[in-house]
C-alpha cells in the first residue's frame, strides 16, 4: 500500500456489514448531521479512561484489535470492525472480490473460553444446520455449539476435557 500523506484525499471505513463511511483526509474533527457540523473530541482522563465527546455526551471507546488496515473498536460497549481503505485500495478490493469463489469450508470456533465436555460428531459425519456438534462448558453453563451449515465433518480439532480459548478452532465442516 504505497500511500503518502498529501495524495490521499478521501478514506473509506467499511463495516463488517459492508456499510461505507466516507471521510475527508486530512480528517475533520467534526461530523455532519443534516446541515450541522458537530465537533468530535477524542479525550482521556483518569476517571473515565479514553472517550469520545460528541454532542455533550461521553462515549467510552477502546481499540480492541488493530491488524493492518483492520480495526476493531469498542464504542459505547458495542464492538465494530472496520477496514479503512483509500480510493486506490478500495478499487483493488472490488476486483479481488469479484474473482473470489464461494466459501466451501466452514470452521467452527469456540465462541467463548471454556472446557469441551463432549464432541457429538466424528470425522465424516453428515450434519444439518442447527445440529449440536460440541458441548462447551463456560462459567458453569453447558452450551451446545451448533452447526452453522449443512455439510460433512472434515476435521475434528478438539476432544472432550480440553480447555479452549475463545476463537480456538474446534471443527471443520465441508459445506454441501
Amino acid at each position: 500500500m504505497a500511500t503518502t500523506g498529501p495524495k490521499v484525499k478521501k478514506l473509506y471505513a467499511l463495516s463488517s456489514e459492508n456499510k461505507r463511511f466516507c471521510f475527508s483526509q486530512p480528517l475533520k474533527h467534526s461530523i455532519r448531521i443534516g446541515k450541522h457540523d458537530y465537533e468530535v473530541k477524542l479525550k482521556a482522563d483518569e476517571k473515565y479512561g479514553t472517550y469520545i465527546l460528541w454532542k455533550n455526551r461521553k462515549y467510552p471507546v477502546e481499540i480492541i484489535r488493530s491488524r493492518q488496515n483492520k480495526y476493531e473498536i469498542l464504542f459505547n460497549d458495542i464492538s465494530y470492525t472496520f477496514t479503512v481503505e483509500t480510493p486506490f485500495s478500495m478499487q483493488r478490493m472490488k476486483v479481488l472480490n469479484a474473482s473470489k469463489g464461494k466459501n466451501e469450508k466452514e470452521t467452527l470456533k469456540a465462541p467463548m473460553p471454556g472446557k469441551i465436555i463432549d464432541v457429538l460428531v466424528r470425522e465424516g459425519s453428515t450434519v444439518l444446520r442447527g445440529e449440536p456438534l460440541v458441548i462447551l462448558e463456560a462459567m458453569k453453563m453447558q452450551n451446545e455449539i451448533l452447526s452453522p451449515v449443512n455439510g460433512q465433518i472434515s476435521k475434528v480439532l478438539t476432544k472432550p476435557n480440553t480447555n479452549v480459548m475463545k476463537d480456538d478452532m474446534l471443527i471443520e465442516i465441508k459445506v454441501d
Binding site: G5, Q25, I64, I78, V84, A138, N143
Partner: protein, 501 residues
Amino acid sequence: MKIRRILIANRGEIAVRIIRTARKMKIETVAVKTAVEPNAIFLSDADVIYDNTEDNSEIPVFLNIERLIEIALETKCDAVHPGYGFLAENAYFAQKCQDNGINFIGPSPDAIHKMGYKTIARKIALSAGIPMAMGSEGNIGNEEEAVAIADRIGYPVIIKAASGGGGRGMRIVRNPGEMEKMFIIASKEAEKAFNDPSVFIEKYIENPKHIEFQVLGDKHGNVIHLGERECSIQRKHQKLLEEAPSIALDDDLRNMMGKIAVQIAKAVNYYSAGTVEFLLDSEKNFYFMEMNTRIQVEHPVTEAITGIDLIEQQIRIAAGDTLKFRQKDIKLRGWAIECRINAEDVQSGFAPDPGKIEKLSLPSGANIRVDTGVQAGSAIVPSYDSMIAKLIVKGKDRRDAIKNCKLALDKVWIKGTKTTLPFFRMLVRNPKFLNGTFTTAFIEKDLDKYYLNSEYEEMLAAWLATKLFIEENLMDNSINVDFENSREMSPWLLNKRINQF
C-alpha cells in the same frame, strides 16, 4: 438466640449486601479472604477478615462445608449467612451448622431438602392441591421411560434435573427423536452441576411468563408474601432483568397466587425468606414450578416496593423473632426494575467476557440503588459468575421506572470488559418490553439483535478507525509500524497516542 457475629459464606455483591444490613443491626461480620480474590471489596466492609489464602483444598472454600464450619467456630461466629449460590440451598450444610450450634440464616434443613429435590417438591405440591404442569411421578431412569411419559402428556416436554435449579440440567424436547440426545445432555449436566444425574419430565408450557412470589415465614408458623417479581427476561433460563410488580397481574390474580405461594411454604413449615416460582401462561393459568429456599439475586426489587429489608428479616427470623407484619400490612408502592450488569458479550450471544474492570463509575440518586462487589481495578474472574453490578431503579409506576432506568443506564460507565449494558439500552426502548407482553421466549424469539444499534455511534466508531489509520499510515510523525506484520494492540496504546495531540 441473639445473633452477635455472622460468618459470610459467600463473596461478591451479596457479601457486601449482607454486611451492610448486619452493620445496621450492630452485628459483627466475618468475611473469608481467598487467593482468587484477595482484594475483593466485601473484605474491607467486614469486621473480621479470615485469611484463607493458604488453603490448598481442591474445593473452593465457599463450597467446602467442613472448612466453613471450622472457620465459623474458630472466629466464634454464632451464625452463618450463605447468600445465594454455593451452599445456600445445601441441606447438609444447614444441618452441619445446626449440629455445631451455629445458626444457619435460612430455612430448616428439612425444608431445603424437600424443596431442593424437585420430585419431592412436586409430590408435596400435588398433595397440597397446588396447580402444576403434568409430568412424571418421580425420577425417570432412561429415555424409553421418558418417551413413554411424553407420549402420555404430549410434546413438547421439558427434562429437568431433580436436584436442579438455575436452568442447569434443563432441556426442552419437541419430538421423540430428540429425546435420547436431550436426556443424555440434561442428565450429564445435572450430574456435573448438582452431583446427581436424576432427571424428571414435565409438560413444557410454551411462551409463559416467569412470575415468582417472595415469601417470608418465621419459626412460629407465620407466613406472608411480599408480592411478585416478573423475571421473564431471561436467556438460557438465566435472568437478566427483573421487575416488581408484574404488569401481567391484577390484584385478584396477585392475591390468588400469593395465597398459593404461602400455602406451599406452609406445606414444608418454611421459615426465612423464600421464593415460589410460577409459570403464567397466556390465559393467565399459573403452574407451580419450584421454590428457591434462599435470598434471590433479584430481591432488591421487592425491597424497593415494600420498604422491607429482606436480609434483616432473614436475620431476625433466624434469631427466633416473630414477624412484625401481617399480610394486610404489606403494601406495594411504585415500580422497581433491576438490570443485571454482567461481564458478557451481547454480540456473541452473551458469552462471558471475564477481565479486569479498568474504570467504573455507577450512578446514584433517590431512585437508584446499585449493588456491586467490584470497583475499578477489580477482576471478573472466570471461576465465579460474571456479575459486575445490579442496577435497581424505582419509579412511581412502570413507565416512570423505565424512564428512570433509561437515564440511569446512560450514566453507567464501565471499561475493561464488555457488558450487558447495550442489551438493556435496547430493551428499555423495545415495544414489546414497553407494552409488557414479553414472555420467557422474548430474547430467543422476539429479538433479531441483542443490542441497541445507533447509526451515529457506528459513524463515530468509523471516524475513530479512520483517525487511527491516518496516524499509523499517513502521518510523518506517526509511530513506526511494520505494516506487513499484523499485531495486537492493547487499549492503553490509545491513551499514549492521545497524549501526543
